[in-house]
Amino acid sequence: MSTIDISAAVATFLVEGRELAEELERGLLKLDEGHDRNDPELINALFRAAHTIKGSAGIVGIDSLGRFTHRVESLLDRVRSGEPLLDDAMITQLLRCCDHINKLLDLAAAGDVEGRDLAAVEGELLAGLDRSGTGAHSAVESPSNSGATPPSSGQGNDFRLLALFGDDCLRHGMDPASALLYLASLARIDDTMVLGQLVPALDRLDAETCHLAIAIRGHCERLAVIDEAFEFFREGSCLLLISDHDTPAQTHERLQRLRQRASDEQLQPWRQAGFIQDTEWNAPQSPATAEARPASRGVEGTPGAEAAAPRGEPTSAPAAAAAAPARFVRVPAPRLDELIQQVGELVIAGAGVDVLSRDTRNGRLQEAVESLMKLIDSIQSGALQLRMVPIGETFSRFQRVVRDVSRDLGKNIHLDIVGGDTELDKSMVERIGDPLMHLVRNAMDHGLETPTERVAAGKPEQGTLRLRAFHDSGNVVVEVSDDGRGLNTERIVAKAIERGIVSSAEGMNDHDIHQLIFEPGFSTAEQVTSLSGRGVGMDVVKRSIESLRGAITLNSRPGEGTLMQLRLPLTLAIIDGFMVGVDAARFILPLDMVVECIELPDGAMLPERPKYLNLRGEVLPYICLRETFSIDAPMVRRPSVVVVRSGGTKTGLLVDSLHGEIQTVIKPMTGIFRHLRSICGTSILGTGDIALILDVHQLVQGSVERATRPTVNVPTNP
C-alpha cells in the first residue's frame, strides 16, 4: 500500500491556517464594529474560513484543531441559518476561539497535534460556545439540525452540478461521496448519476486514481452551499454548476470544458437523463443568444463564482474578487532574497558591460547592450515587486489590539486605517510591527482620554486612533496619530529633570521638550503601565526605527492629539539614484528626493549666514559634502547645488560635479560601517569604482542636530 508524505502539506497548512484564522478574526472584528450581523456574505465568509481550517486540519492530521474548529464552524453554521446568536459576548468568545486556533497551530508546528495541554482552556471556550444553546457541535453530522431541512418549494434555486473529479482527489483524501452526503444535509438532492462506464475494468484500473463523474440535480436556498460542499475539490476537478439563472447558450459555452475532459459518447447518459438539455448541448441557433460571458466563469475548479453571483444579481467588486480563484505560489523568503541579490549583481554586471560597450564605439554592440539593459531593467522591476507587500495586513492586526485594550481601559476608541495598500519591503513590514505596537499602545494608554474626559473637553465620546501609510520621496511614511489630550510638556519637563536628562527647560520650545521622551532613561519600568510599557521606552522605539535607517518625528498639540511619524526607506536592494561627485569620490542620492540641480549662481553664498544659499531669492540651507566627508581637495571653480527634499524641507547639497541618473544596487553597510548614519549603502559602478549611497534624511537631520545641539543640550552648559 502506498504511503503519502504529508509533511509538506502540514507546513503549507500551518501557514494557511494562520491566514484563515486572521480572516476569521478580521470578520469578527468587522461585526464587532457594527457591521450588519446578518450579512450573509460576511457570515458565509466566516463559516468558510472555519470550515476550511477544520477540513484541512483533518486532512493533515491535526486532530486537536479539526475537533475544536468543528465546534466553531457548527456555531457559525447555526448563525448563517438565521439563529440570532451573535451578540457582543459571543463575538468576544469567538475572538478567543481565534486565539485558541492560533495556539493549536503553534502546538502543531511543534509536533503536538493533540493539544492536551490546552484542554482546560478549550473546555472553557467550548462551554462558552455552547451557551448559545445545545448541540452546537452536531449541526453538520446530523441532518436534522440546521440547514438540514431541505427547502421544498418556492424560494431558492434549482441547480445541476456536473462534476468530473480530478485524478488525485482520492489520494489527497477528498471523497466525493462524503461531499455529496454533506451537500445532502444542506440542500435537497433530487437525482444523482455516476457515469459508471468511465471507471475502467479492474485490469486497467489504478484503484487510487479517481475516475468518478457525478451529476447532481437538486434545489437549495443558496448556491453557495454547493461551493462549500465541494470546495476541497477545486484542484484538478472540473465542476460545472448550472443554475436556473443560466441560459442554454451560456451553459453550452461552459460545457465545452467538460467536453474536453470526457467524450460526447461518455457524457450521453447525462443527456439522456436530462442533466444536460439538448438546447445546452447543441450550439446556439442565434449569435444573439451567445451572450458574452467569460469562458472561465466557474467552469474549472469551483462553482463558487456561480454560487456567489448568479446571473442578474449585482455583485460587489470585493465579492467578485473573493470568489475569483486566486493562484499563488508560496516561495520561501530566502529564495527571494537570493534572487534579488543576484538581480543586483546582474545590474552591476550590466552597467559594466554598458560602460565597456560605449568605449568600443561599436554601434551594433551598443544597440545590443541597450536591449540587454532594458531586459535587465524589466527583470529588476519584476524581482523587486516580488518582495513588496501591502502594509494593510500589519495594520489590520491592530484592530484586535485596539478592541481589547480599549475595553480594558474603559475607553471608546475607533481605529482608522488609511493607506493600507501602501507597499513596502516584506522584511521592513516584519520589523516595524513591534515599534508600531508600542506606539499604538502608548496612544491608547496615554494619549486618548476616557469618554467622560472627552465629553468634558468638548470632544466626541469616541476617540480616534489613526494608522496611515503613504509613499513620500522614495520613503514610506507610517503615521500613528490620535485625537487625544496631546503631550503634557510640563510633566515631560518635570520627569526629564527628575531623571537627570535635563537640568531645566530654559531655552527649550515645545518641540524640543517633546523630543525628550525619546531620551534614554525617560521611561522606566516603574512608571509605565502594563499596557504601553514593559520597561521599553520611546528611546528603544526610536533606536528600532533608526536601525531600519528610518526616522521618527513627533508632533503634538495640547488637547488636539499627537502624531508620530515614521519615515522608512523602502530598503530595496536596488534604487533609482542620481550620482554626484566631489573630487574623485562619487555619491548617489535617491532620485525621488532630488528636486533640481543647478550650477551655483554667482553671489548665492550668503557671507552673513554661512550655511545658507540665496537661491532665486529663497534662503536655502545647504550641506557641503566636501566638508561633511572631509575630502581634502581644492574646490572646483563652478560647484553645483543639488536641491533635495527631505520630509517637508528642501536642502541644497554642494557638490563638484553632476553625473546624472543611475540605477543603483545597494550593498548594505556591514561590520563597523553599519552605524554610519549618513550613508545607507555602497554601490559598485560599471567602471568598478565604489559610490556611497547617501541617506539624505539622516544627512540633513544630522546637520540640523549639529547646528542646534548647543541650544538643546542645556545641562552640558555651565
Binding site: 500500500m1 502506498s2 482520492l170 489520494r171 483524501g173 471523497d175 466525493p176 461521496a177 462524503s178 455529496l180 452526503l181 445532502a184 438532492i189 437525482d191 444523482t192 448519476m193 455516476v194 459508471g196 462506464q197 471507471v199 475502467p200 475494468a201 479492474l202 485490469d203 484500473l205 484503484a207 487510487e208 479517481c210 475516475h211 468518478l212 457525478i214
Partner: protein, 115 residues
C-alpha cells in the same frame, strides 16, 4: 482491515467482503479480484456478499464499479446478494443504489440470495 473470502457454492462463485473497503484497501482488493477473475473463469455466476462491509468510501465504490465492468467484459453474471447499511447509504447518495442495482452490480432477488 479488509478480507475477501471466496467460496464455490453450488455452481456459484461467492465473494464475501468484510471490513473496510476504502482508499487504503482498494489496491489490495483489486489485486485479489484480478486473481479471482483469472482463476475462476467458470462458473459464470458470481455473487457478492457485501453485508459485512463496515466502511466504504468513493474509492471502494469505484472498485465495485470496476468489478461490475470487468465481470461484464468476462461475460460473468455478477450480482450482489447482501449489502451493509453503510454501502446502502453511500451508494444511495451517489445514485448507485436502487431495487435492481447496487454500485453497478445487479441485486440478486431474494430467491437467489445465498444461505
Amino acid at each position: 482491515m479488509m478480507n475477501i473470502e471466496p467460496s464455490d457454492q453450488a455452481g456459484r462463485f461467492v465473494v464475501r467482503v468484510t471490513g473496510a473497503l476504502t482508499i487504503a484497501e482498494v489496491g489490495d482488493a483489486r489485486s485479489v479480484m484480478i486473481d479471482h477473475l483469472r482463476t475462476h473463469t467458470a462458473p459464470h455466476t458470481w455473487e457478492f456478499d457485501l453485508g459485512d462491509v463496515a466502511e466504504i468510501d468513493s474509492a471502494g465504490v469505484q472498485l465495485l464499479l470496476a468489478v461490475a465492468n470487468s465481470t461484464t467484459e468476462h461475460q460473468i453474471h455478477a450480482s450482489v446478494v447482501r449489502t451493509s447499511p453503510v454501502i446502502d447509504t453511500v451508494a444511495k447518495a451517489l445514485g448507485l443504489a436502487n431495487g435492481v442495482h447496487c454500485c453497478g452490480l445487479a441485486r440478486a432477488s431474494s430467491r437467489e440470495t445465498c444461505a
